[in-house]
Structure formats: structure tokens, C-alpha cells
Symmetry: C2
Subunit: 187 residues, 2 copies
DNA sequence: ACCGGCATGTAACGGGTTACATGATTTT
DNA sequence: AAAATCATGTAACCCGTTACATGCCGGT
């Protein structure tokens, strides 16, 4: 999904400034599944405005740039519908932490444990945050994504705890990877 | 992780051609967590060669380009270790399917169900594939990532099945979102 | 007969990330 | 006193994706 479509999506649920669009994306159930920086949102909103898919009003602020509240137009709604009709691309996950853990044999001693702990901690935070979301009156799609998100985060936290021992074992016993044969000589 | 580091990682476990690097990444437990196309791998391998982090031998093929088998060097191993010492970036997930489902109210009738079914089916395939991997003799990190992957895919498949009804309900009863008040007039 | 697997490479294109510029108010 | 929040925007940069070029062999 390009950032333009992300913006249309957020605006389809109510008016917002560029700043608020970013916040809503980050804080909602979609938070882990989409991402957009200001460097993409502001140019996207300009393009959207040029196409007539959004309109906006400017409100003067003291000491900071004027706030622009954007609203989606009817043609914007249609464009958003068209975007949703395309076949969704396959999920893409980038996990540097898992990549590193995969090569734990190359990590300095004790580092694997740190990376794993940081990984679990990050997802524990996301899980807490997701649990605290208020879904009162939220539409079905929002609830669905929320539920799937919760399941994923719970699964990760649990799986890391359940398998942590695999890495700890390697740290404690670096000389004999597996089995009893091979190099089992008398000291 | 940039593609150069991905290549070093694969080569740290044994020699391979660019083609094989891509396959190993896709087919191993890391399959869903990293990705690299030929358009990035081949240039990356050239850079790696120029830096002296890999060496290679060329083998003539009939009717296709010469096969180049790459091997990591000692300085390559050190560079890889340095890369692994950096703090891992936070996981990034892009899910167009979940984005679409989030806005199921905008989807054509029945489309939400299709997207959801396709989504579950995709993960069922990944799950099958992951279950069939042979981990005999695999190091701890590989097992760990495999186990976490399995948990995630299982969680997604289960969560989608458990929450499918949320979307089905919306399709079947589009006129009255929730509650009993509001527009409950006598026909 | 046609598609997928094998095998490498280049060039253009696209799009997101990062860094910078500006600055008051509120929270820690 | 320092840091985070609010608020927008530009420009350079990086780097990955896509498309193209080439071509044999085995399976359906």
C-alpha cells in the first residue's frame, strides 16, 4: 500500500491533519501492519489535493506551522474503493532480530540472550498497548485486525519464552553442539 | 538488514551461487523474515567481492551464464560479525491484506470474505512448508527461528478462523451496524 | 507446446527514509 | 534543564523492485 492509499484510508473515517494521520496509523490496530513517515505523508496529501481526492482548511497556530485539516471527497472515496479492489500483495516481514538470532553462533557470548530478551520485551509492550485499545463502537474490520494482531503478539511472546532455552544451551556448552559421540575423548 | 549482510549470512554457512543464496533464504526458516531479489543479490555480491569479503570460482554452463560459486573470506566473516553487533531495528510488517480487511466496510459485498480466505490460505501453505523443513543437525538459532515462525503462522491461521464471523456478520446485515436503537422505525 | 527451473546481469524507475529548518508549550 | 508534543515541509539519498536480455533442459 502506498502512503496515498494509507492517507485515504484514515481520512475515510474522519478528517485529520497530516500529523494526526500518522498518529492514528501508529496507535490503532493497524499500527504494526502499515507505516508512514512525515516525509511521505505530506507530499502524499499534496498529490491527493491536486487530484481532488481531498480538500482542506487551514487553521493558524501560534509558533508553529498552520494546521491543515484534510477531508476526503467523493471522488477520493471512489479512488480508495478502487485501490481496495486490487489483489493484496503478500505479507512482507522484516525482522533483523530473528536474522541475528538465526546466526547466534556468530554472536558474542551472551549477546543472543540479550537480543532475544529485547525482542520479547518489544512485543510485550506492543501487546500491552494493543490490549488497552478501546474498540467501543469500532467496525468489524477494525475488530478483526485487532484480534489477529493480539494473537500474533501473544504467539511471539510465548514462543520466545518457550524456546529461549535453545540459545541458552548453546552459550553454556559451546564445545559440543549435539550427540554424545565425536570428540568425547577422555580429558 | 541490507542484502550484502544477507549474502554474508548465507555464505557463512557454506559456499553458494547468487541463485542458490536466494533459494536458501526463501526456503529456510528465515524465509518470511528476509527477502532479496536477483536485482539486489548480484550487485551485492560484486560489491562484496570488491571489498574482499568473498571470493568465487566460475564454472562454465551449457546454454546459460557461467555459474559463480562464492565463498566467504576471513575478513568477510569479521564484517558479518560487526554487522551482527549492531542493535537490530524493530520488526517491520507490511500487510496489505489486513489493511484491506480493516476497511472491510468499503469493500464490495463478499470481497472481505475472499480476502480473508486468501490470507488464511497463504499462511496455511507457509505453515505446511515450514513444518516440512528438515532441521536435523541444524544449529540452535535456526531451530529457534523455525519454532517462532511456526508459532506465528499457526496463530494467524487460528485467529483468522476464530474471527471470520466478525466480517461475515457485516456482510449479512449491512443496514444495521450495531445496537437496537437508531433507524429502528416501523417500516 | 508451454511453463518452470536453472543462471547471471544491467538499467531505469519508484518510493520511502533521513536530515534539516523552525519554535512554543507542556511534561518529566 | 531537558525532552517530548505539536505541526508542516523540502531535498537529497539510498536501495530495492521491475523489466529486459539470453537460452537450454526437463516435465506436463
Amino acid at each position: 500500500m502506498d502512503v496515498k492509499t494509507l492517507c485515504l484510508g484514515v481520512l475515510s473515517r474522519g478528517e485529520a491533519s497530516g500529523y494526526e494521520i500518522k498518529k492514528q496509523l501508529e496507535e490503532g490496530p493497524l499500527g504494526q501492519f502499515c507505516r508512514a513517515g512525515f516525509g511521505s505523508i505530506y507530499p502524499a496529501l499534496n498529490v491527493l489535493g491536486a487530484k481532488g481526492w481531498v480538500t482542506w482548511s487551514e487553521f493558524p497556530q501560534n509558533g508553529r506551522p498552520d494546521k491543515k485539516i484534510y477531508r476526503i471527497t467523493e471522488s477520493g472515496r471512489q479512488a480508495f474503493r478502487r485501490a481496495l479492489r486490487r489483489k493484496p500483495a503478500a505479507d512482507r516481514v522484516h525482522s533483523e532480530a530473528l536474522f541475528m538470532i538465526f546466526f547466534s553462533g556468530y554472536l558474542d557470548v551472551g549477546r543472543a540472550a540479550d537480543v532475544v530478551d529485547g525482542y520479547a520485551e518489544a512485543y510485550r509492550r506492543i501487546l500491552d498497548h494493543t490490549r488497552q485499545m478501546d474498540l467501543a463502537g469500532a467496525p468489524a474490520g477494525c475488530r478483526f485486525v485487532h484480534a489477529v494482531g493480539l494473537s500474533i503478539y501473544e504467539a511471539i511472546v510465548a514462543a520466545v519464552e518457550r524456546n529461549r532455552h535453545l540459545l541458552a544451551a548453546e552459550d553454556g556448552e559451546p564445545a559440543m553442539p549435539r550427540g554424545k559421540g565425536k570428540s568425547g575423548a577422555v580429558s
